[in-house]
Structure formats: structure tokens, C-alpha cells
Symmetry: C3
Subunit: 356 residues, 3 copies
């Protein structure tokens, strides 16, 4: 994974000023960069660093006019920031997909098939009747139960657990420790105070382009043929709870430690902050924005709402109410004072005046 | 796991109408069922589907009178819904307990014994001096430390972690990623601002018929001979925190992401919703019901209470207070208006009248 | 791990009364202790037990004068409680560090080095270019990615996951299921409602003497060369979320289920209770104390503050406001009553009097 500066300039459609044959193997910030690394200069505030940087190459704006000598080779482009970001993404892809082959020992059950370009880390477990696409990266200690299906280019980090029957789309990334397909929390109370387990026989479907953080849990649906569904483009953070039969709509983003209770449907393009709790059997409409630590007890039907509080209501109203909440002891005193004053006013000898 | 329709009817004490020799291997909803599957019809709303279903068999009420021709074989019973549920449970049991034998590689330490009918998945780890009962299912990547004891018929899903000395009863189910017996969070502040670790030397005892969700954590007790205890019949959801020396009483149910702080005792038959926080060293009496996101700062001594809020109090009072909270800006305005009016009233020339 | 009572007395600088050659192998509470175990008597309330205990040895105060016969051997010391605690710590250290050697199968990549006295449990995975110090204990199913560095005497419990490039100091303890170095939650919204992944290329640095509980997650920093940093002496409980680019200052303690959002800096010697949420890009100054379930939306600049609520403010003010909150329906009634009274006062025929 080493390129010459000329090769990088080629990818970016940029012009080289200096020694284009030097090799670079890493990206870095201009103030930290060392030999063999490439940096960028976009914000003029950082211009000072270009005269002292040890970077082998710096990406600069086409019309950049140096005020002093620069030892680094320059790559001249239209927009240094987007060029650098593009390089970052390429680099990231290379890092993510550099692993390939099968490390031993690893386990694969009967009738399971895997595509080309796959990585199967040591101690990874693939059950029976599993179908895995091309370029899938399965890190060590990952558990894939029976009858699981996984699309192309999906990355399962170390110790992801997929219960039997789970379906994962293409281009998904799932981080370490996340559990998909565990039993929904369903128990029927009995006359004697004990609970009977309601069998959980559905599965989980995760569509394409979904990212899921670390140590998150998504439970399976209760009934045969039913699924807990995470639609395409959804991004879930760490330590999130998604209960049985939940559906999360397209491109919805949910931050860490939020919990969605059973059978609730979240719409498309919602933004849900951290530590939010959503009760069961609700419908949250598209484009809803829910603030951190909010508690949602009823369905939301009007699109574009922004809510906060537990139970949650309009965020601006919440902050207005909370501002008064903070002054409640003062409010209480003012109220008491008024009560005294009124008692006093009421006792004024108005009657007597009248009779005078 | 294939039965003839006659065999299934036999289990249910039902009567067969049609070809009882056909084989079925799956349960399904009547609107989704395919050949080889069995469905049920209980709610008349769904009657339409029985005339078009591809199910091989449908369980119906004894007195069901078809209005058109039905291609599926019928099984006539008293109560189709409970018959179907009974089948579901049988099926679930079969699924759960179908795994058996030892996959390789797996690890077992010295002086450890396992019962009959056991499943030990690949990459499962059993330490030394471990005692495991009959029909226990240990999925891949499960870690069982030294000196652990596990009763009969217990299922440990992939990557459950039991620290040394943990005791798990019979008929328990523990889901993936759950950690039992990790160190309690005990640190003694030192004069220089650092903390000294208080050794955590107790263990965790989980009694019979307990279900624990995924990625939950139960810490061990601090002292030798002491235990964090989860009593029989308790059901814990995903991502729950149970701190050192906690005791959770019989048949108590706790939803996802709730945390119980150290040395607190939760009574029997309590229902605790999601994202609740309970402070340390409290006693929560039997039959207490705690609403989602509540924060419990003091012991609860009166049975049958329902509480909400942080700090929590009676749920009905909480909602009444919260209803006013939402109108606090309005309350504040009304108060200000009264203050103005009173100022006005006070300035009325009452004295002058008197002196006139 | 068996010692004679004489040996233990030697460690404690105590005097033996009785048979010093008897062997002990465990510590226990005086009321529970059995043969082969050692207990202590400090609080006079427990004196009764010393006459009936089956402990082989009891640590007592130098000037302890028994009122009856005692069968246990006594060890006379200045301060029985600290002597027992010292023994506990020694025992704990022995337990923690008794594991050594390499169990098979285990995996180690190219160019990786490990120190002396190491334990590598079965199914543990060490990637390439990893550097591990002396006396490090790596429990089964632990995943250590490429280029990781770990100091001396650190313990990684079963199934800890360290992503590539993570740095862990010396004398750290990390509990099961914890994930360090997973991708930060960074996505750039696109015009069509989808999100583009922002590559996460930094790492995580955990300094010396840090303890981290079970199933906690610490994300890596976004940019190359940047790090999410956990400073020396920090203690993190279970199920905590630490987002990308966060820095947690020296000796700060954080309880379970708390979440710190991206790029926030927590100061030194802070105490953060459970289920707290801290928003992103904030600075929390040293010695700040944050109560359970608090939500922090702005930076805290004054040292020594104690805050509560969501959004949080001074804890005493919070409780005062909350006390009034609970009586809001009553406040509302009082306000309504005042409004009625004022309406009545205003309607008094003052004008008429004046004109009289």
C-alpha cells in the first residue's frame, strides 16, 4: 500500500511540483505529518505549517503562492480538502478490505457457501446452510448461525453474533460485540406469579448500506415469517437496543444507548439522539428528530417534528418550560407572596367605607 | 423434525379431515403458509385465507363449517389458538435442543464434568473444576471460567461469558454477549486523588428458570462467600447492568438498558421498565412497578406501588405534575399578570377615601 | 496457593497463638468460615462468632482478651481489618495472576512479541506487529488487532476486543466484552437523504492503571494521528459509551451506562454517576461531580460543581425545583384561586365610592 506522489496526483487529477517519485504510505495532518506521509493545506490559518512540515507531499490549492521555501512536494488541485477526503476514503477502503483468505482454525458447517475475496478470521464460526457473498470480511470470533444470508462487501468485525436465520444486506459494516437475532423479550404472566416464555421464532433483516456500532442488540421477531427490519442506509451507534418486531425506516440515524421497544415502527430519515427511549407499538413518522434522553410514549404523526423530554413534546416548548422549572422555588415564593397580599387586600375595610 | 399431520393431530387430541399422511415441518401464519407447513384459523376475520392457503394443514375449531372448498387437510380441535401455541412451544423446544455433540476445536479444562445430551459448540471454552448438568447447550465462543456450576437444560448462546465461580441453575437461557461475574465497581479514594482497587472476590448465583438477554452484565459480589443473586423465574432483557451484591427477587421482570446499583435488593414479582436507574443500598419491596427512565433514589416500602420520574414518585401524580410542567411558561405569565394586577389594586386610593 | 498460619502471620508481622502449622487456603467472614479458612475479628459486635467459628485461624487485635475458649488459632496484629484487607489484596493478585502459559489453539500473527509471564488463553487472537509487555494476562476469546501495544501487568478478560492500533498502558484491567477502537459514529448527510461514511482512522490510547468494566465501548478518533484518550487512573464501569475523540482526564470515575459524545473533554478527578449523557464538543472542568441520569448540554467551567437534571444545573437547586415540581398541580390550583379572588377584588365598587 505504497504509492508514488505522481500516482496520487494522477488519482486526484492534480499537478505535481517537486519530486513526484517519492513514495508515500500514510495520510496525516500538516502539523503532525512525517516523511512518507501526505497532508493538505486548505485553511489559510494553517499556512505556517507548510514551511516546516516534514510531510513528503502536501495537497494545495491550484493558485497557492508560497511565501517561503517549501521542502515538501506539492500537488496542486482545485479543492485540497475534498481531494484529501477522497484519498482518506480510498485509504479506508483499502484498510477495510485488505484482509483476505482464511485463518486457521476456523469453522464452517455443511452446505454453506462463500463468495470470492472473502476473509475468514481465526476462530470465526459459520453454521450450516449459510450463504455469504463476495468480498465479505469476517473478523475473528464472529458467530454466524445456521441459515444466515449475507450480501457482498459486508464487514463483520470481531465477535459479531448473528443468530440463525438472520439476513444481512450488501455494503454493511457491523462492529464488535453486536448481537443480531437474539430472542425478543416476551413472557406471558401465569396465575402463580411466574412467567411462561413466548417462543421467539421470527428473524432479523438488515438491508443494504447499513452501519451498526459495537455491542448493540437487535432482537428477532416473535412469529414465524415475521422480521425485525432495519431498512437500507440506516446508521446505528453503539449499545443500542432494538426490540422484537421493530422496523427502522430508510436512512434513519440513531445515536448510542437508545432503546426502541417491541413492534414500534420508526419512519425514514429520522434522527434520534442518544439515550432516547421509545415505548412499544408506536409509529414515529418520517423526518422526526428526537433529542437526547427523551422518552416517547405516543406515536408521532406530524412530519418534521423536533421533540424532547420524558414524555417528549416540542423541543422549543420543552426548553421554555424547563427554564421556568429551574425557577420553580422562586415561582412558589412569588405565589405565596401574592396569597399574602390578597389576604391583606381582602381584609381592607371596603364595606365600612361604603356605609360611611 | 418432520411429522405427519396424523402425528400432529395425535399430539393435540384433534380429529383429521383430509390426507393425514402428508408431512409438515414448519408452522406459519395462514396468509403466508406454504406446502409442508401448518397454520391455524381462530379469528373469523382470517377465514378468507383458509380457502386460498397453500398450507398442508390448518388447525380449526371443531364446529368450523367451510363455505367453500379447502385444499388443506384440517385438524379439528377445541381451541385452535392454544393448540397452535402448544405446537409452537414444542417446535421451539426442538429447535433449541436440536444441537448436540461436540464441535472441534473446543476446550475443556481439568476435572470438569458434563452431563448427557450436551452441545459444546466450536471455540467454546470450559475451564477447570467445572460441573455441567444434562442437556446443556453451550454455543460457540462461550467462556466458562474455573469452578463454575451449571444445572440441567440450560442454554448459553454464542459468546456468553461466565467468570470463575459463577453458579447457574437449571432451565435458564442466557443470550449472546452477556457477562456474568465481572468485577464490581469498587475503588477506594486515596489522598493523592488516585483510587485503589477493592478486590472483588464474591460470585454470582443465578437460580432456576431465569432468562437473561444479550449483552447484559451482572457483577460479582465484593466479599468472599457473598453473592450477587438472581432468584428463580427472573427475566432480564438486553443491555442491563446489575452491580455487585444486588439481589433480584423471584419472578421479577426487568426491561432493557436498566441499571441496578450495588447492594440494592429488588423484591419478588416487580416489573421494572426500560432505562430505569436504581441507586445503591436500597430495598425495593415486592410487587413494585417502575416506569421507563425512572430514577429511584430511596427505598420503596409499600407494596404494589407504581412510580415514575427522576427521582420517582407515584405515576399518576407524576403525570399530573408533568401536565402542568408543560404549561409552565403560561403559568409564569399568569403569575406575572396577577402580580401586576395586585400592584394596581394595592395602589388604589383606599386611604384617601378613608380620610376624605 | 496454600500457606501455613505461621507463614501468613509472618507476612502480617503478627504473633501466633495456637497451632501455626495448620494450612489455610481461603479467606472468609468469621460467621461463615470453615476449616482451612482464615477470618478476622475487628468490630466487637461480631465477637460472639469467634467462640463458634470453624475457621482455622482468626486475625485479632493484639490486646484481644477472649471470654471463652476459642478453637481457632489466633494471629495477633495491630489492626485486624487492614491486615485482612492486605491479605485479600494479596490473594486477589495471586488469583488474577495465577494463569500463565499458552493454551491451544490460540493465534498470533507475524512480527508480534510478547513478554515473560504471559497467559494466552485458548482461542485468543493476536494480530500482526503487536507488542505485549510482561505478565500480561489474555483470557480466552480476546481479540487483539494489528499494531496494538500493551504495557506490563495488564489483564484482558475473556472476549475483550481491541481494534488495530489501540494502545493500552500498564497495570490496566479490562473486563469481558469491552470493545476499544471501533469506528466513531460519523456520517455526512447527502442531498438525497442518504449518509456517506466519514472514514475513522484514529485510534484509542488507554494510559496506565486504568480499569474498564464489561461490555463498554470506546470509539477511535476520526483523523489519522488523533486519539480518543483515557488518562491514567481512570475507572470506567460497565456498558459505558465513549465516542470518538473524547478525552477523559486523570483519576476520573464514571459509573455504568453513561455516554460521552464525540470530542468532549472530561477533566481530572471528576465523578460521573450512572446513565449520564454528555453532549459532544464540551469541556467539563476538573473535580466536577455529575449526578445519575443527568444530561449535560453545555461546558462546565467552574471547578467543584455538583450538577443534576437534564439539562443539568446545581444539584441543590435541582432538588429544590423538583420538590416544587411534585406539587405543580397544587400550585396550579392556588394560582387559579388567586385569579378568581383578584377578579372578585377588581369588581369591588371602588369607583363608586370615589364619586360619592
Amino acid at each position: 500500500m505504497e504509492f508514488t506522489i505522481n500516482q496520487v496526483a494522477g488519482m486526484l487529477g492534480g499537478e505535481v511540483k517537486g519530486n513526484g517519485n517519492e513514495k508515500i504510505n500514510m495520510l496525516a495532518k500538516i502539523q503532525d505529518a512525517k516523511k512518507g506521509q501526505i497532508a493538505f493545506l486548505s485553511n489559510p490559518k494553517y499556512e505556517q505549517y507548510i514551511y516546516t512540515t516534514q510531510a513528503s507531499a502536501v495537497i494545495v490549492k491550484k493558485d497557492f503562492a508560497p511565501k517561503k521555501e517549501i521542502s515538501a512536494t506539492l500537488i496542486l488541485v482545485e479543492d485540497p480538502y475534498s481531494s484529501f477526503t477522497a484519498l482518506l476514503e480510498e485509504y479506508h477502503k483499502m484498510i477495510s478490505f485488505q484482509k483476505s483468505g482464511v485463518e486457521q482454525p476456523s469453522f464452517i458447517g455443511d452446505n454453506s457457501t462463500v463468495g470470492t475475496g472473502i476473509y475468514r478470521g481465526a476462530f470465526s464460526y459459520i453454521g450450516g446452510n449459510v450463504k455469504i457473498g463476495n468480498n465479505v470480511k469476517i473478523y475473528p470470533h464472529t458467530y454466524i448461525g445456521d441459515d444466515v444470508v449475507i450480501g457482498d462487501n459486508t464487514v463483520l468485525h470481531a465477535s459479531v453474533k448473528l443468530y440463525s436465520g438472520t439476513r444481512i444486506g450488501s455494503n454493511c459494516v457491523i462492529h464488535s460485540g453486536t448481537v443480531i437475532g437474539s430472542d425478543g423479550f416476551g413472557f406471558a404472566p401465569q396465575g402463580d406469579g411466574t412467567y411462561k416464555t413466548i417462543p421467539q421464532l421470527g428473524n432479523v433483516i438488515v438491508e443494504d448500506n447499513v452501519a451498526i456500532g459495537a455491542n448493540t442488540v437487535i432482537d428477532c421477531a416473535t412469529m414465524f415469517g415475521d422480521s425485525t427490519v432495519v431498512r437500507q442506509g440506516v446508521k446505528l451507534d453503539n449499545l443500542i437496543q432494538v426490540a422484537h418486531n421493530v422496523e427502522i425506516g430508510k436512512n434513519t440515524v440513531i445515536a448510542a444507548q437508545t432503546g426502541i421497544s417491541g413492534s414500534t415502527r420508526i419512519g425514514d430519515n429520522c434522527i434520534i439522539a442518544g439515550q432516547v427511549g421509545v415505548a412499544g407499538h408506536l409509529v414515529i413518522t418520517n423526518n422526526t428528530s428526537i433529542g437526547a434522553q427523551a422518552g416517547i410514549l405516543k406515536s408521532i404523526t406530524e412530519e418534521g417534528g423536533q421533540i424532547l423530554g420524558s414524555p417528549a413534546f416540542d423541543v422549543k416548548e420543552y426548553f421554555r418550560a424547563y427554564a421556568v422549572f429551574k425557577k420553580l422555588p422562586d415561582l412558589n415564593s412569588r405565589l405565596r407572596e401574592l396569597e399574602n397580599k390578597i389576604r391583606h387586600l381582602e381584609s381592607r375595610p371596603v364595606q365600612e367605607i361604603n356605609t360611611k
